[in-house]
């Protein structure tokens, strides 16, 4: 069922595989303008995680994409309440440069946040804009990961902009959210050529053939699982990964091993 291999059999039968936990590196939280979420309350999210075998969900608040102060505080509260399930991405909005320094200081005082989340398209500010320089400097100095939305097309958040950033800041663990959607091979090559660049799979998994290109050109050790939860059911993404032509070892790399190594999350 679904595909050959033990992982496919067990996910199909049980919805989860005990020795193959999942780390979701790209989640969200709270209501959003464009969509109805049936299951977005923290308890519902945790129930989904249990059913899908998701051990950790690293998330950024929808509210934080517009109002960073309130939104990041909301995530801080959720992480504090459920420290065994959630970790946070600290969202920064380049359209409020006067807040940047204060909010970077705020990051230091909060527990449970792993790094920063940027959304160049949502904030209509190219990833190469000077407004992000304080973020890059801060993350580079501390070796912190940054999850950024990436998408095909020139001049905003494609593999080209990612390459420009990481050539200047090579020590940043840069997660290409949506794996540079559309520019599959070029994005995979950026991940291959830069030690700390990773392809994050939200939405990308649903394009048949994209995963195989990523594995071929970047290797399964450079790919991370993510879902935009509560947008997408983790089972949908997991099912797409099970369908892709790769080994169960590749699938394990993608579903948890790489994120565990990069984000230092315990799996006990």
């Amino acid at each position: 069922m679904i595909a050959e291999g033990r992982l496919a059999r067990e996910f199909a039968a049980h919805g989860r595989v005990d020795d193959c936990p999942v780390i979701d590196t790209h989640g969200h939280f709270g209501p959003y303008q464009a969509i109805h979420f049936p299951r977005s309350a923290p308890e519902q999210v945790i129930d989904t995680m249990r059913r899908c075998g998701v051990r950790w969900l690293v998330m950024a608040g929808h509210q934080a994409l517009t109002d960073t102060q309130r939104g990041n505080a909301e995530i801080a509260a959720a992480v504090a309440r459920y420290p065994d399930h959630f970790r946070g991405w600290w969202v920064l909005n380049p359209n409020y440069p006067e807040r940047m320094e204060c909010e970077l200081d705020g990051f230091e005082t909060q527990e449970g946040f792993l790094g920063f989340k940027l959304h160049p398209n949502g904030h209509e500010t190219p990833l190469t804009d000077d407004a992000y320089v304080p973020v890059w400097e801060y993350a580079h100095a501390r070796g912190l990961p940054v999850l950024t939305h990436t998408w095909q097309g020139e001049g905003m958040s494609s593999y080209r902009e990612v390459r420009t950033v990481v050539e200047k800041y090579p020590d940043i663990g840069l997660l290409m959210g949506h794996a540079g959607y559309g520019d599959w091979e070029e994005s995979a090559r950026v991940a291959r050529d830069h030690e700390h660049v990773y392809l994050e799979l939200t939405a990308a998994y649903s394009v048949r053939g994209a995963l195989e290109i990523m594995v071929e050109h970047a290797g399964s050790r450079k790919i991370l699982f993510g879902t935009d939860h509560p947008w997408f059911d983790p089972h949908y993404g997991i099912g797409c990964i099970l369908s892709a032509y790769m080994t169960d070892e590749d699938r394990r790399n993608i579903l948890y091993r790489n994120a565990q190594r990069l984000l230092e999350l315990p799996l006990d």
Binding site: F11, I35, R51, Y205, S206, V207, P230, W231, C240
Partner: protein, 253 residues
């Protein structure tokens, strides 16, 4: 539980998807790998070239594989490209075609009572379902507006919108479900956490048909989502294939 995919295709489109399925044989092999029993299929020539060519190719290929059930495209009866109404229905009967697809944007016609009234009346009378792809119309929400207009004119028509996009579109399709008892969507891109469960609880399981959107989308995503949805096994079986099987068995050609 029968897994009956209502939304997949094969063939050679002008611009191939990242990983295509040029022949029916490839599709059947992928279905066997995924554990999908049956599929309602169409050759890409139906939407990329013309139903005149594509309908024939689809029927010829489906005749070779028990797992494939042919589905045809429609054109305005007034231009007589697929024969007049009686001839078209007779051809459907002869080839055992029990469902139809409309591509009004690609094939440049109005999916309206004026254009399709005679055919839609026959489809209502005979219980033949009509499928529409979510991205067929160019505007953001045009396909839903079109579906609403068609259903207002033909509330008895069984209309299914497929591949409705990864952004949950419940705000768009649930009002149609509430108003029109014969309206449904497929699950190929229904990725929303809890979406299937909520539809079962609010609108009923008959409003969802299992689909994969293959070859554009991997079969495993919609498949695992349905297999593990937090719904009853009876509801799961209806969505997996029971609804479509029942719909097709009620068709009177």
């Amino acid at each position: 539980m029968e897994l009956f995919d209502c939304n997949c295709w094969y063939g050679v489109p002008r611009r191939p998807p990242l990983a295509g399925a040029e022949t029916a044989e490839v599709l059947v092999e992928e279905m066997a790998r995924a554990g999908i029993d049956t599929a309602l299929v169409r050759n890409a020539a139906i939407f990329e070239q013309s139903p005149v060519t594509g309908n024939r190719l689809t029927s010829d290929d489906c005749a070779k594989y028990e797992a494939l059930e042919p589905s045809w495209g429609i054109l305005p009866p007034q231009t007589d490209e697929l024969g007049d109404l009686d001839e078209f229905i007779a051809a459907m009967r002869r080839e055992n075609v029990r469902s139809l697809w409309a591509y009004p944007e690609k094939h440049r016609y109005l999916l309206s009572a004026t254009t399709m009234g005679g055919l839609f009346e026959e489809m209502v009378c005979r219980g033949v379902p009509l499928f529409l792809r979510r991205n067929e119309m160019p505007g953001k929400f045009d396909t839903y507006e079109l579906a609403e207009r068609v259903l207002l004119d033909f509330p008895g028509l069984r209309l299914i919108i497929v591949a409705h996009g990864s952004w949950g579109e419940d705000r768009l399709f649930r009002p149609l479900m509430e108003r029109f008892p014969n309206f449904a969507v497929d699950t190929s891109r229904y990725e929303l956490d809890g979406g299937i469960e909520e539809i079962c609880n609010t609108c009923g399981p008959t409003r969802l048909l299992f689909g994969t959107n293959f070859p554009e989308t991997p079969m495993g995503g919609p498949l695992l989502t349905l297999l593990q949805a937090n719904i009853s096994d009876d509801d799961r079986a209806l969505i997996a294939g029971g609804n479509l099987r029942g719909m097709l068995e009620e068709v009177r050609l």
